[in-house]
């Protein structure tokens, strides 16, 4: 009898993608049954029945895991949002005649992109919810059983012995797990198929839009740089004129009259103070460039990730259709990079 049971369990375990938790639970139920020998629904029978049922139900079709894709979608949405906010702020603080008007228009346009990315996050989250609901099916059955038992106890309904109930619940859990796995697999496959074209379209447009956003950032950055340089607009010219004068006097130092030597000494003081001003100005330019570099890196990463993201979705859809597994490791890596770049821009 046990040999047959183990064979049935082994078949259940081998049947496609596995539900080791369920077979283990069935096995445990079987072992408990030996000790307790409950008459109404022998756990041994229950375990065997559960194992056979698992085979009959298609032995646990496990749905494709959409969680890495959902994580990448959330990171990408966050990158799109942060990029837009950074460029809007940069534009608003520029000296362009229509800076405020442009920033307001960009806000309207980019809010629409953020809304679309939020819809993609909701879509990916829907996939994740379906996957999680299937994964938690067995736990859910046990939770509901516990709730029903406590209602029965409160109402004074006499329940069968605990061992027998446990066996029945385990069967229900396996059945419900299988039903939900199949349902989740079908739902996720349908959704991936249905959404693939729309998602590719979104990625295509947002790739172009992030390129335009980068153009706007470059233009605002060019203005920010020019403003720093023009704040003391002839500094470089004066610095060069002073150095030329020093050079000219120094080349004739041995023959210079006293008044020119005094002038040379005075010019050395002037050039030092001018050099300090140039250094301070260059430091401000370096700050402007560093801010731009971080913002541009985030936009570039979001732009590059659009193609990966859309391709990962397509690969997932194809893999599910062809009952294959798929690696989206590069997307996981991209997600980590995006999060780091977002942190850098937000820390500015």
């Amino acid at each position: 009898m046990y040999a047959h049971t183990n064979t049935a369990l082994a078949i259940a375990s081998r049947g496609g993608m596995l539900c080791p938790m369920n077979t283990q639970r069935a096995l445990n139920t079987m072992r408990c049954g030996r000790a307790r020998a409950v008459p109404s629904l022998p756990p041994l029978f229950a375990a065997l029945f559960a194992a056979l049922l698992a085979v009959a139900l298609g032995a646990c079709t496990v749905p494709a895991d959409p969680r890495p894709f959902a994580d990448a979608t959330a990171a990408l949405a966050s990158a799109v949002k942060t990029s837009g906010q950074a460029v809007e702020s940069q534009l608003r603080s520029s000296s362009l005649p229509s800076a405020g008007e442009h920033a307001d228009s960009l806000h309207v346009e980019w809010s629409a992109r953020i809304a679309v990315m939020e819809q993609t996050v909701a879509y990916a989250d829907g996939l994740r919810q379906v996957y999680d609901a299937a994964a938690d099916s067995s736990k859910l059955v046990h939770q509901i059983a516990a709730d029903v038992s406590s209602i029965a106890a409160a109402a004074g309904i006499v329940m069968p012995p605990a061992g027998a109930i446990a066996g029945g619940i385990d069967i229900a859990a396996i059945v419900y797990q299988n039903i939900n796995n199949a349902r989740a697999a079908a739902t996720i496959a349908d959704s991936l198929q249905y959404a693939d074209k729309a998602l590719a379209g979104i990625a295509h447009h947002l790739e172009a839009d992030t390129a335009k956003l980068r153009d706007i950032l470059e233009l605002a950055h060019a203005d920010a740089r020019s403003r720093v340089e023009l704040a003391d607009k002839n500094l470089d010219l004066r610095f060069e004129q002073t150095r030329d004068a020093i050079s000219s006097l120094a080349s004739r130092a041995a023959t210079l009259p006293v008044e020119d030597l005094e002038r040379l000494s005075s010019l050395n003081g002037v050039v030092d103070s001018q050099a300090a001003l140039v250094a301070a100005r260059d430091e401000r330019l370096a700050e402007v460039d560093a801010r731009f570099a971080a913002q541009a890196a985030l936009i570039d990463a979001a732009n590059g990730a659009m193609t990966d993201w859309s391709a990962a979705h397509s690969r997932l859809a194809t893999a599910v259709r062809e009952h294959r597994t798929v690696s989206i490791e590069s997307l996981v890596q991209t997600t980590a990079e995006l999060r780091e770049l977002i942190r850098k821009v937000r820390d500015q």
């Binding site: 992109r113 829907g126 939900n180 349902r183 447009h205 839009d209 023009l230």
Partner: protein
């Protein structure tokens, strides 16, 4: 600090600086006439308008006025280019929103499927049923042996439990 660009180095007189500015303004007009204005060309010309102001000698009479014209032209050039990019963004907004709506509809379907798989309606009802039964049992016990004050409090509690159950069921029916 970088040396003066070669195009500005030989300029000495007001006339030479004015002629250079005139050339730059012609180039700005040509760029502005393109839709959208080319990014690289705009950035390069912005650089040259800036350099014009940086290297034009203030001691030459009238140069300040030329600088002012150069600055206005620089700002107009960038402003126009930004406006072009924003208009381009506006052109694709409605297509994107339509695509987003498609995903939103699918997301709603998937959420409903997940909710059904989680048996949300059932799991929301069971604890309320339990509470209602417990309240009813307590009421039965109190009716047998308690004072009027205890009875009133327990009836209120029982009614409250039943009300919660009714609300839960109504929510489920509405959903």
């Amino acid at each position: 600090m970088s040396p003066p660009p070669a195009e500005f180095k030989p300029l000495k007189t007001f006339a030479q600086w004015r002629e250079k500015l005139s050339d730059l303004l012609d180039e700005a007009d040509a760029l502005g006439a393109q839709d959208p204005s080319p990014q690289a060309g705009v950035l390069k010309l912005n650089r040259r308008f800036t350099d014009f102001q940086v290297w034009s000698p203030p001691e030459v009479t009238g140069v300040e006025e030329l600088d002012s014209i150069a600055e206005n032209a620089r700002l107009a050039l960038l402003d126009n280019a930004v406006g072009d990019r924003i208009r381009e963004l506006a052109n694709t907004r409605s297509v994107l929103l339509t695509l987003g709506k498609e995903l939103e509809r699918r997301a709603e379907q998937d959420r409903q499927t997940a909710s059904s798989m989680r048996m949300d309606k059932l799991t929301a009802t069971l604890p309320k049923v339990n509470e209602a039964i417990q309240a009813a049992l307590a009421l039965k016990q109190v009716i047998d042996q308690a004072t009027d004050k205890d009875l009133a409090a327990t009836v209120e509690k029982a009614l409250d439990g039943l009300q919660k159950l009714r609300e839960t069921v109504e929510d489920i029916v509405r959903a």
